[in-house]
């Protein structure tokens, strides 16, 4: 798992590069007359420099391995990946499947994340949560949720 603690640094560095490169196409201008890309360039370059310094700092750190094992070794990081991936899939599927089905599926995944054997609990939990949420937000607070494939049944 060595090296995983550098992922945040690489993300910051990537974002810094994104803003630095992107700033150029908007026009940098000059110090007297800064263009729309001037401040993004300054911000992007500063972010890159700070991220690089942090990366160097981490590489020189002798106790890096110990920190990593406590951060990543014992943690069930698959669960956080599942939550994030579930939300991304939800965002892509909600318009097609509709709020009720998509939310039920997401809740089912989340309720079974810790213990996959408790199917009945996960199904009952997801059903009750979706029903309550739909009534509170859609019927009571008038939030417009997508009906998706349930539209033909008049939902």
């Amino acid at each position: 798992m060595r090296g995983l603690d550098k992922i945040p640094c690489l993300i910051w560095l990537g974002l810094g590069v994104f803003f630095t490169v992107g700033a150029r196409k908007y026009g940098i201008g000059s110090l007297d007359e800064p263009g729309p890309g001037f401040f993004p360039l300054v911000g992007g370059v500063s972010l890159c420099l700070a991220a690089l310094s942090h990366l160097v700092q981490l590489m020189r750190k002798p106790l890096c391995g110990a920190r990593e094992s406590s951060l990543w070794g014992e943690a069930h990081w698959g669960r956080s990946v599942a939550v994030a991936a579930g939300l991304v899939l939800y965002a892509f599927a909600v318009d097609f499947l509709g709020f009720i089905i998509a939310t039920f599926l997401l809740m089912f995944i989340l309720f079974s994340l810790y213990d996959r054997t408790k199917f009945i609990f996960a199904i009952a939990g997801s059903l009750s949560v979706v029903t309550i949420t739909y009534f509170v937000f859609s019927i009571w607070l008038n939030v417009r949720f997508p009906a998706g494939i349930l539209r033909r049944w008049g939902v």
Binding site: A50, W77, L87, F92, V129
Partner: protein, 433 residues
């Protein structure tokens, strides 16, 4: 001087008129109850809760909305101590220090007095801070009115410098976070040229990032992502909680620690960057230094519960002064409240008190009422909080995720906001892990 007192009295009475309206009382009650609940529950804090509930407040009047959100913030400071004392797990970061002596007291069968003293110290400190806030807001506002752009710029730089200096862990990480925040503001339409920048061709990003999915992701979802990785232990103390009212001897031991905690907490609450967490550590350290028996701290000293609990509440109330009078949020929760005020059409700063006295004084006076509610609520409801603590995290976290996604989606009825929230959740996860 007399005129100022009459003015202040008039304002207080006006504030009472606003605060005791049934709607506002109702939202205050909901806020402090929710605040205590999330304070009790480890794994969800006031920052996440306020972020998650922010979209719900769009449909209610601004005064009621901020009364409720403020109630969540200071209510959480009360609730956090319950988990620290009964479980040895801090419900909030501000209650970490309370674990040291609070849990030891509970193990010795003195959980009741520890919980009682935590509640009384919180109430006394919160109320003293509010009195100071009531009388200091005027002078602060007058000071703020004399500020021009150079003074505000200097103050902002000072706030950022203190924030970075006081940041936990690496200072470089704090600088990176500040730069990341700066870079986020570049996304959207450039105000001067009208050019769309960094929108990746998405129309949803033409106005930049919406505050709600951003803070929900950074603070709400990231907390879930971090917590689901751990198997949370929930060994609630089995002993019955009795004798919630501290004895005379307890009061005699705690009167000065409460006073010192209140003063320290209030002053550190006003300072940008310091906030309730640091104030609890400072208060505990000061008590240890002035104590004749410093070696007994950590073994169940009631002073070790009273002082930090007073400090975190005083600090939570004090933090509203720079937000309301200067328009400078001294901590993350206040930054979210700043956003909430803007969304409700109110500009935090020196003109807030002058232009919206109903809002300003209504919210300030509601905090007195909220503090009294918390004291009345906390002691009798402790058995209920003990039951709440038994809700397993695998049941709780899907509900938090659901609240986040409904809040993000309902903002523009757009799945793109759910994606933005998730992306910021991942960013928040990496920056906090």
């Amino acid at each position: 001087m007399g005129g100022m007192n009459v003015d202040t009295l008039n304002h207080i009475l006006f504030g009472f008129q606003v605060a005791i309206q049934p709607t506002n009382i109702g939202y205050c009650f909901v806020g402090v109850l929710l605040g205590t609940l999330i304070g009790v529950l480890p794994g969800i804090g006031p920052v996440a809760t306020i972020s998650i509930l922010l979209p719900i407040t769009f449909k209610i009047p601004p005064v009621a909305a901020i009364i409720m959100l403020a109630g969540i913030y200071y209510g959480a400071q009360y609730g956090g101590s319950t988990t620290s004392i009964l479980l040895n797990i801090p419900g909030e970061a501000t209650s970490v220090v309370t674990c040291m002596d609070g849990y030891q007291m509970a193990r010795q069968g003195r959980g009741g007095p520890a919980l009682g003293m935590a509640a009384f110290a919180s109430f006394i400190a919160g109320t003293c801070s509010l009195v100071a806030m009531t009388f200091l807001s005027g002078p602060f506002t007058n000071l703020g009115l004399r500020f021009g752009p150079p003074e505000y710029f200097a103050l902002m730089i000072l706030a950022l410098v203190i924030l970075i200096y006081l940041a936990k862990g690496s200072m470089l990480k704090a600088v990176i976070t500040a730069l990341f925040g700066l870079c986020l503001t570049f996304v959207g339409t450039d105000n001067l040229s009208g050019i769309l920048r960094f929108t990746l061709g998405r129309i949803e990003l033409s106005d930049g990032f919406d505050l709600v999915p951003l803070i929900m992701g950074l603070f709400g979802l990231s907390e879930v992502l971090l917590n689901v990785e751990q198997n949370m232990r929930q060994d609630v103390l089995k002993d019955k909680i009795t004798h919630l009212f501290p004895t005379r001897a307890d009061w005699a031991r705690c009167k000065w620690p409460i006073s010192r905690g209140t003063a320290l907490g209030f002053l550190l609450g006003i300072l940008p960057g310091a906030g309730p967490i640091i104030s609890t550590f400072v208060a505990y350290t000061v008590e240890k230094k002035v104590s004749k028996t410093p070696e007994k701290f950590g073994t169940g000293m009631i002073e070790g519960v009273a002082s930090p609990e007073a400090a975190n509440n005083a600090s939570a109330q004090g933090a509203f002064i720079p937000l309301f009078t200067l328009g400078i949020p001294p901590n993350v929760t206040m930054a979210i409240l700043y956003g909430a005020l803007m969304i409700h059409g109110l500009q935090p700063g020196p003109l807030l008190m002058k232009d919206h006295p109903d809002f300003f004084w209504g919210v300030v006076i509601s905090m007195y009422i909220g503090n009294a509610m918390l004291l009345v609520l906390n002691l009798p409801l402790i058995p209920l909080w003990v039951k709440v603590l038994k809700i397993p995290y695998p049941v709780l976290f899907p509900l938090i995720v659901l609240f986040c996604l409904v809040g993000a989606y309902s903002l523009n009825n757009s799945p793109a906001d759910v994606l933005i929230m998730t992306a910021f959740g991942v960013v928040g996860y990496f920056s906090r892990s």
